[in-house]
C-alpha cells in the first residue's frame, strides 16, 4: 500500500511539474457554451459509429466472401454495436448468446452448460461461467477484447481468405488447453 501511495504521489508530482506551464482556461465554460450554440445545441447529424458501420458492412462483406454466416455472428455484431466487445455485454445478452450457440449446434462444454442451468448460481458466478464458456470456445480475442470479428476469426471464417491459412475451425487453437484451467476456476468459485 505504501508502495502504491508512493508511486501515485511521485507520478502525480512528475506530471504536475511537467505540465506546470499550462494553466486552466478561466473562460473555458463560456467558450464551451458558445461552441455548443454555434454547433446548433448538439442537434448535429450523428456520425456513423464503428459498430453500426460493422453491422451494415460486415454481413455483406462476409456473404460476398462466401463464408458461412451463422445466426450467432449476426447477434454478436448487433451486440457489439449496442454494447461494445463481448466483455461489455450485459449478462442477459451473454446467456442468450450461449443459448443461441447451443441451438445452432455449436459444441460447448456440456459440464459447464449444465452448471450454468443451476438456478442457485449468483449473477456474478453465472457471468464468470458464461465468460469461461465463451472464451474457452472463441479465445480471449485481441488484447483481452473479444469482438465479433474475433469470434468469426476463431471459427476459421476467414481461413480461406489467407493463402495457406490454417484457421481455427478445428477448435484446437493453441490457447485452448491453457484456458481449460480458467474454466475450472470459474466454476469452482
Amino acid at each position: 500500500m505504501d508502495d502504491y501511495r508512493g508511486n501515485v504521489r511521485r507520478v502525480q508530482q512528475a506530471l504536475n511539474q511537467d505540465a506546470a506551464f499550462i494553466r486552466p482556461d478561466p473562460y473555458l465554460a463560456r467558450r464551451v457554451m458558445l461552441a455548443e450554440e454555434a454547433e446548433g445545441g448538439g442537434r448535429r447529424r450523428r456520425k456513423l459509429s464503428t459498430g453500426l458501420a460493422l453491422v451494415i458492412v460486415l454481413p455483406a462483406a462476409v456473404a460476398a466472401a462466401g463464408v458461412v454466416v451463422y445466426q450467432y455472428y449476426q447477434r454478436a455484431i448487433r451486440n457489439e454495436a449496442a454494447y461494445g466487445a463481448y466483455q461489455q455485454w450485459p449478462l442477459a445478452e451473454k446467456l442468450d448468446f450461449i443459448e443461441q450457440l447451443v441451438s445452432e449446434g455449436v459444441s460447448l462444454d456440456a459440464e459447464q452448460l449444465a452448471l450454468l442451468q443451476d438456478a442457485g448460481l449468483s449473477p456474478d458466478a453465472q457471468e464468470r461461467l458464461a465468460d469461461a464458456i465463451i472464451t474457452d470456445h472463441f479465445g480471449d480475442g485481441h488484447d483481452g477484447s473479444l469482438s465479433a470479428v474475433s469470434i468469426m476469426e476463431a471459427d476459421g471464417a476467414f481461413r480461406h481468405l489467407i493463402p495457406g491459412g490454417q484457421g481455427m475451425d478445428e477448435r484446437n487453437g493453441p490457447g485452448r488447453r491453457f484456458r481449460r484451467d480458467r474454466i475450472r476456476n470459474a466454476s469452482a468459485s
Binding site: D18, I22, L28, A29, M33, E36, G144
Partner: protein, 168 residues
C-alpha cells in the same frame, strides 16, 4: 436539464476537474495546443451529454473516459503522426528555483517514453487514481489486462529509472 443548471454544472465540473484532466491530456498528447483543444472538446461533449449522464459511474470516471476518447481520436488523426509535437523552449518548465525536481522531470520523461497502452494505464491508475475496474470500463479491456499493463509499466519505469523510481 435547464440551461441554467447545465451551465452551473459545467462551471462546477470545470472548477473541480479541469486542472487534472488538462495535465492528463498534456501527458497523453505532449502538445500544449492539442491538450487545450482536447480539454475544450471533452467539456463540450460532457456539456451536451449532461442530461443523459445517469450516474452509473462517478462524474470523474465519466469525464476521464470522455477525455481519453478525445485524446485517442486526436492521436489517431493522420496529421498528428507527422506534426512536430515537441515542446518549444518557451514552454519548458523553469529549471532553477520554483521547486523544480529533476527526479520528477526524469519520471515524467520516462512516462512519455512508455508505449501508449502502458502510459494510458499509468495515467489512469496513478494520476487519476481510478480503480482497475473503472479503467477496464474506460479502456474496454478486462481488469486483469489493466493489472498486467500497470505491472509492465512499473517494470519499464524501474528499468528506465532504477532506484530513483523505487525510492523517489
Amino acid at each position: 436539464m435547464e440551461a441554467n443548471s447545465r451551465s452551473a454544472a459545467l462551471t462546477r465540473m470545470l472548477g473541480q476537474y479541469q486542472q487534472s484532466l488538462l495535465t492528463m491530456c498534456y501527458a497523453y498528447l505532449h502538445d500544449r495546443q492539442l491538450a487545450e483543444d482536447a480539454m475544450q472538446e471533452t467539456f463540450l461533449r460532457a456539456y451536451r451529454a449532461l442530461g443523459t449522464f445517469l450516474g452509473a459511474c462517478s462524474e470523474k470516471t465519466w469525464l476521464t473516459a470522455i477525455a481519453v476518447n478525445v485524446c485517442r481520436s486526436m492521436r489517431c488523426k493522420a496529421w498528428f503522426t507527422h506534426e512536430n509535437c515537441s515542446v518549444t523552449p518557451e514552454e519548458l518548465p523553469l529549471t532553477v528555483g520554483g521547486g523544480y525536481d529533476q527526479s520528477a522531470a526524469d519520471l515524467a520523461a520516462a512516462i512519455q517514453r512508455l508505449p501508449d497502452k502502458l502510459k494510458e494505464a499509468v495515467l489512469l491508475y496513478c494520476y487519476q487514481e481510478l480503480s482497475m475496474t473503472e479503467i477496464a470500463g474506460i479502456v474496454g479491456v478486462l481488469p486483469s489486462v489493466v493489472s498486467r499493463r500497470i505491472g509492465k509499466a512499473h517494470a519499464r519505469l524501474q528499468g528506465l529509472l532504477g532506484k530513483a523510481y523505487l525510492h523517489g
